[in-house]
């Protein structure tokens, strides 16, 4: 068995029940708790947010509870408040990044959020009707024994945090909906999210932040298989340099192919190893065939999966977080020089059987890197010629299509949703918002102030009706 039961380095103190973790940034969260103490990031923030919940939905929940189709009003509000904090926790600093100069990401993001809130409920209900609540849980569970799968932290989190949280928040900020509208649809979205995440984790929690930023979902047999291919190397050695460069080069194209967003990568872990080191399993999706702009990625596989082995003693690692958008952050910040082992695996297509996944030795990575660099440059020149409108529409697709695509594929319903529900169409209201969001600084000011700050996630009122729906159910 390759996974250690416990870790002993300083970072392992973060997993002791009384430990409050370290602060990764200086800001504090207020959200809907304006008369209470502000909440910090990290493990302490999670504890405080859970202590303010009115229901048990943020604690470990049972299979039976997850199968139940209906959240109570308190549960919906607890999830809303927790997701608002969680979004702030992972995105508030990223949101300072300003204009792209290349892709109008802030514009496409808010449009995609709102489109998801309007459109996902019909897909989620359709899938649940067809495969059942247990079938949705099974979608999540499938991630435990696969690498190179987009059923991962960030995609699963997006189902609720983005489609419900940010989508509803954006619509509230624009005064296009009211707080007690779409309660039934909100329940559908959050139930779908809960089932997938619960099925993936299998420990009763749904989010990494509830488990001190751990996502140790892979079965020991799979970890053994990955570790069997890991090549150890010394810091500063040519092998380490090759692995480091391959990781960065593939990760960059993974971002780019997904329109500068994090859906292109997925970390799980940290898995403590018997020799004291840590394993992070990192999927880098460099060629998503569903997107037409991925033509420049021809010849590249759907996914490279990296087994990233880090020495926490060498690094003096104090805390590591695999957050809910699949990204690893550490204190100290620079983990790269302390990599002491790695392996690279290839999954050619999204549905390539795990038995056909193969590894590439480090000394054979250069041709892959050359192809990655070439595709990146071709993607850049192609993108630079696109109009703002085209970039926005592509960006909407890269969120709205992509965030639920893996779950539709796994349910075997992608083609059906395309054919019967016009999956690739944008809600007409959202197309109209395209012309509204640049007015009154909505994108530049309201989005960071309401969405990424966690301020705009209004609760459902005590008078909200769980049956309230504005949907024209087909």
């Amino acid at each position: 068995m390759t996974i250690a039961e416990t870790a002993t380095s300083e970072y392992a103190k973060r997993y002791e029940p009384g430990d409050d973790g370290l602060r990764f940034q200086p800001l504090e969260y207020v959200g809907n708790f304006k008369d209470m103490e502000p909440v910090p990031d990290g493990i302490l923030g999670d504890k405080i947010m859970r202590s303010r919940a009115k229901s048990g939905v943020l604690e470990k929940v049972t299979h039976e509870e997850v199968l139940n189709d209906q959240f109570s009003l308190d549960e919906l509000n607890d999830l809303n408040n927790y997701l608002a904090w969680n979004i702030w926790d992972v995105l508030v600093m990223r949101a300072t990044e300003g204009v792209s100069g290349m892709i109008p990401r802030q514009e496409y993001e808010i449009l995609a959020f709102m489109n998801e809130f309007y459109r996902y409920p019909e897909f989620m209900r359709m899938v649940t009707d067809q495969i059942g609540a247990q079938g949705v849980i099974d979608i999540g569970e499938s991630a435990r024994s696969e690498i190179g799968t987009k059923i991962n932290c960030v995609h699963d989190w997006c189902l609720g945090a983005v489609a419900f949280g940010m989508g509803r928040c954006g619509l509230l900020a624009g005064e296009w909906i009211r707080a007690d509208d779409y309660v039934e649809e909100s329940n559908i979205i959050l139930k779908f999210m809960q089932r997938v995440l619960w099925g993936k984790r299998q420990d009763g929690y749904i989010l990494n932040s509830q488990d001190r930023y751990r996502c140790k979902i892979h079965e020991p047999a799979l970890i053994d298989q990955l570790m069997g291919q890991v090549q150890n190397f010394d810091p500063g050695s040519p092998d380490q340099h090759t692995f480091e460069q391959f990781n960065a080069t593939a990760e960059l194209l993974a971002f780019f192919d997904h329109y500068d967003c994090r859906l292109g990568l997925g970390d799980t872990g940290p898995y403590p190893l018997p020799d004291g080191r840590i394993l992070i399993v990192r999927d880098l999706f460099v060629n998503e065939e569903v997107f037409h702009w991925s033509d420049v990625c021809e010849g590249l596989p759907h996914c490279y999966t990296l087994a990233v082995v880090l020495d926490p003693e060498l690094m003096g690692l104090k805390e590591i977080r695999v957050n809910d958008i699949s990204t690893s952050f550490t204190i100290p910040k620079n983990y790269v020089p302390h990599l002491t082992g790695g392996a690279v695996f290839v999954r050619d297509k999204w549905d390539t059987p795990m038995s056909d996944v193969y590894s590439v030795p480090l000394n054979e990575l250069e041709p892959h890197m050359e192809k990655l660099r070439d595709s990146t440059y071709r993607m850049y020149k192609k993108t630079a010629k696109m109009s703002r409108h085209t970039l926005c529409l592509n960006g909407i697709y890269s969120y709205y299509i992509e965030m639920i695509l893996p779950h539709l594929r796994k349910a075997g319903m992608y083609e059906e949703v395309c054919a019967k529900r016009d999956f690739w169409e944008i809600d007409q209201r959202v197309m109209n918002y395209y012309y509204e969001i640049t007015k009154r600084n909505f994108v530049q000011v309201v989005v960071p102030q309401k969405i990424f700050s966690g301020e705009g996630y209004l609760p459902f009122s005590d008078e909200a009706d769980l049956r309230a729906s504005k949907y024209l159910w087909a």
């Binding site: 990223r94 100069g101 960059l252 500068d260 000011v445």
Partner: protein
Amino acid sequence: MTVIAEGMNVFETSKQPSGTVHYLADPQSVIALIDSGKLRDHILLVRGGTTTFLAPALTMGAIGVITMSGAPESHLGILSREFQTPCVMTAHLTGGSGSRYVPGETDDSHFEEIVEALNGKNVKLDCSDHDVGKVVLLD
């Protein structure tokens, strides 16, 4: 040693890349710099903290980056860490008007002042501190 600008340090490193600051205003200027073959002569100055704008420059060996917005958690911060390319984010001038970047509230004059002050200067990046990255004037 004259520190002419400071910002958030993306990751701690003993690397101290030096070169002439080259402001990249648009994708065409990124392509032109790469095609010139002189990418490694320059410290790149960009306005945003997103990844795509600098994508080919990062893969082809950019030696150092200064941004006028963004944080280590921004996508460009994450990628510069992975490439081990020293990067100072949301840089502000140590002199000048004292203007600071605030998302959604900062007008163009803030960025223009930084470009005016840094573009063409021969500098090195000092990214040894956990939090603060420094732009040091060499001439």
